[in-house]
């Protein structure tokens, strides 16, 4: 199919030949822009003149705001990426997917049980999973998204929560899913169910809270707060340090 494709579309401005350095051409929703090589998609867009409000958040791969889809010349593959984590490439045709349309259902976590029934009652579409794996292929975090959904269907909340732990909620899987599953919120729910009901509670935290409530540290704290700067420094410098 590559041979049939026209090499490039859109006129090249004659004014762009400045400042040396190699430039590449990217197509933002079909419109060509000349940008320096070596920038991320996000920075390339900004260089090109876009001042973004949508489609940008933490700029470090944690928030999932900058999801994009793109195709490379000569390929049929519809690729996905985070714009802040991916280099712009020559000939890339791209579109921002800053939002996956879905409303978060409300629930009372206190009233749910950590089982598949609770999840499916809120997200009935989960059982529609066809095991097509389009979600996994779309995930810029490289998560086994399909396996996580399948784990829910069979009632393994713990497996699902752990498989979906690194999810940054970009929504690309949900955009690609033929079963129209709202992965982002499904995963949020299973992680909370697991964290709240299946992970054992920390007893030492509970004990420390009791001590604090009983006023065990109040006197020592008062004393410390009244120390002179010199005494405080001395105390600080002489404290013992636990090995890592």
């Amino acid at each position: 199919m590559s041979s049939k494709e026209s090499p490039e579309t859109g006129p090249r401005p004659v004014s762009g030949k400045e400042e040396g350095g190699k430039t590449i051409r990217i197509y933002v929703m079909g419109r060509a822009y000349e940008v320096p090589e070596g920038l991320t998609i996000l920075k390339a867009l900004e260089y090109a003149g876009f001042r973004l409000t949508r489609g940008v958040g933490c700029r470090g791969g944690f928030c999932g705001a900058c999801a994009v889809m793109y195709r490379m010349p000569g390929e049929y593959k519809l690729r996905t990426a985070l714009a802040c984590q991916t280099l712009a490439r020559d000939g890339m045709h791209l579109v921002f997917i800053p939002y996956a349309p879905m409303k978060k259902p409300r629930y009372d976590i206190e009233k749910l049980r950590p089982d598949a029934g609770s999840v499916i009652a809120i997200f009935p579409e989960v059982t529609r999973c066809l095991a097509c794996n389009a979600c996994t292929k779309a995930c810029p975090q490289g998560l086994q998204v399909m396996d996580a959904i399948q784990a829910i269907i069979r009632g393994d909340i713990a497996a699902a929560a752990n498989l979906a732990f690194d999810c940054i909620g970009c929504g690309l899987c949900s955009i690609r899913c033929p079963a129209e599953i709202r992965h982002v919120y499904v995963f949020q729910l299973v992680r909370r169910l697991y964290g709240k009901y299946m992970l054992p509670k920390a007893k030492h935290v509970e004990e420390r809270i009791k001590e604090i409530e009983a006023g065990k540290y109040d006197e020592e704290m008062e004393k410390l707060m009244k120390l002179s700067l010199e005494e405080l420094k001395r105390l600080y410098m002489s404290r013992d340090i636990e090995k890592a």
Binding site: P36, E37, G38, K43, Y47, A48, G49, F50, R51, L52, T53, R54, V56, G57, C58, R59, G60, G61, F62, C63, A65, M72, K77, R79, A81, Q85, T86, L87, K137, P140, Q141, G142, A161, F165, Q188, R191, R192, Y194, G195, K196, L199, K201, A202, K203, H204, V205, R208, I212, Y217, E220, M221, L224, L232, K233, L235, Y236, R239, D240, E242, A244
Partner: protein, 563 residues
Amino acid sequence: MMGLVYEGYPPEMREKIRVVEETREERLGQQIPKLSLEEREKLVRKWHPDYREDTKRPVRIGPNKGQVIYREVADLLESWPAVKPGDVDLDNIDYDVDILIIGGGGAAASAALWAVYSGVSPENILIATKLRFGDANTVKAQGGIQAADRPNDSPVRHYLDTIGGGHFANKPELVRALVMDAPFIIRWLEDLGVMFDKTGEGEMIEYTGGGASRRRLHAAKDYTGLEIMRVIRDEVWNKGVNVLEFSPAVELLTDPDTGAVSGAVLWNMEVKAYYVVRAKVTILATGGFGRLHLAGFPTTNHYGATADGIVMAYRVGANLRDLDSAQFHPTGVAWPEAIRGELITEKCRSLGAQLVNANGERFINELEPRDVVASAIIRECAEGRGIITPTGACGVWLDLPMIDRVRGEGTIRRNLPAMYRQFIRHGIDITREPVLTYPTLHYQNGGIEIDPWTHVLRPDGTPIPGLLAAGEVTGGVHGKNRLMGNSLLDITVFGRRAGITAAKLVKEMSGKPRISLKHVERYMEELKRLGVPENRRAPVLLPDYRGERVLLRKLDLIDLAPI
């Protein structure tokens, strides 16, 4: 993953790596003595942005007139309002609520939940945030959250560590609240369903953090901030609290007579319309200032970290403190460009990674304090011994393969999995290749002064009625330097306290507050006297990274909202 695979270093950089490889055996076991206190002092004074004269200046206006602070912050404080008072119709109120929470990070979400727990109806709370709810520094925190809850630890010890780490400049009663509330906060998060790292019996797996004398960092893999944020955000949505996204506050509103804060003007960034919000209590939780790129540094911060909260609070008379210091993390990523400014954890250096300049030489003992190491790296680059990247940044090598060389094959994969993943994504294998590093602007140590129940204070110590603040926007909790893991704690402890205080204030208040922009008018008089150029306006809301060529040709013919 259906993204393209990166190729790693370009040939010209690969060429420069050779010297690191060639000198590795030589450097093995080589001792670099630690500097004397005087030498340290000299190095830091010459190169660290906190000590350099040219990075700061006295602010010439407002409650802290004369105080020396970072230039970029001073410029913002000496700016005209983003919205002219006359352009806003205050007679038409768009949202009339009990509590307005400005910001969409961990401090904001905690405040909203605790206000609800304390009896305020969710419909009477409005969260207004700049980007999406959760687009914030909070989601970027990886390391963990501190709380002294192990038997060999205590809140008192946590107090001492925090005060010492802050160069004894912290506000003691804030530190006390921080450390005493900490275990309670951990239990709260646990109950909400945060997946903390635990042993099979439920004991928290706790890690060490720089400056802490006990292991007390609670983590959720290396996504601690993300995990906390998404859980509390989910709960805020569940409770039905109103959230307005892409609608930053651009100015606070005040009672024309008493100066009490009574709401804010919001600006919808998408359709560029303003909204007037009247509120009985307003909580500022707008986070830090990394995107101001103090002294030209890259940053670890999110896109919206532009100090808006400080600017707005200053105009209503808030006292600002410790804004002469900022936290620069010595090892930010200098290459690949994609993750420039992001963190390279300190753990690399404790495991034996060496810093190496362009000549293949070590230039500092890697385990010196953060500010000392950062200064040395800055010096190497300034004096021409750094490595220039294809995008024009400068850095020095962090020889990570040294770790495996010294401690045995597999150490990196075992101890630094997140780091390994971060770089292999870009085709760089840190078990075989060094990485390029340069200091990065990390954290706003200072900010708005508050009391332990988050009331915003004036320079004379009296509270500004109606205004609370929590999180990175505030100062005093961390003094001149924050310890790792104390900030996630800060935002939940003081976010919670802000929610509780707000609920109490709402209950005490009868009738609706009055709103005006009178304080802004007064501030503008001062600006005029000072002769500040009219085009300098704040808050800035977002940094501008557009290419120069485009800006030169920019014409605003019609006003289009970008999609």
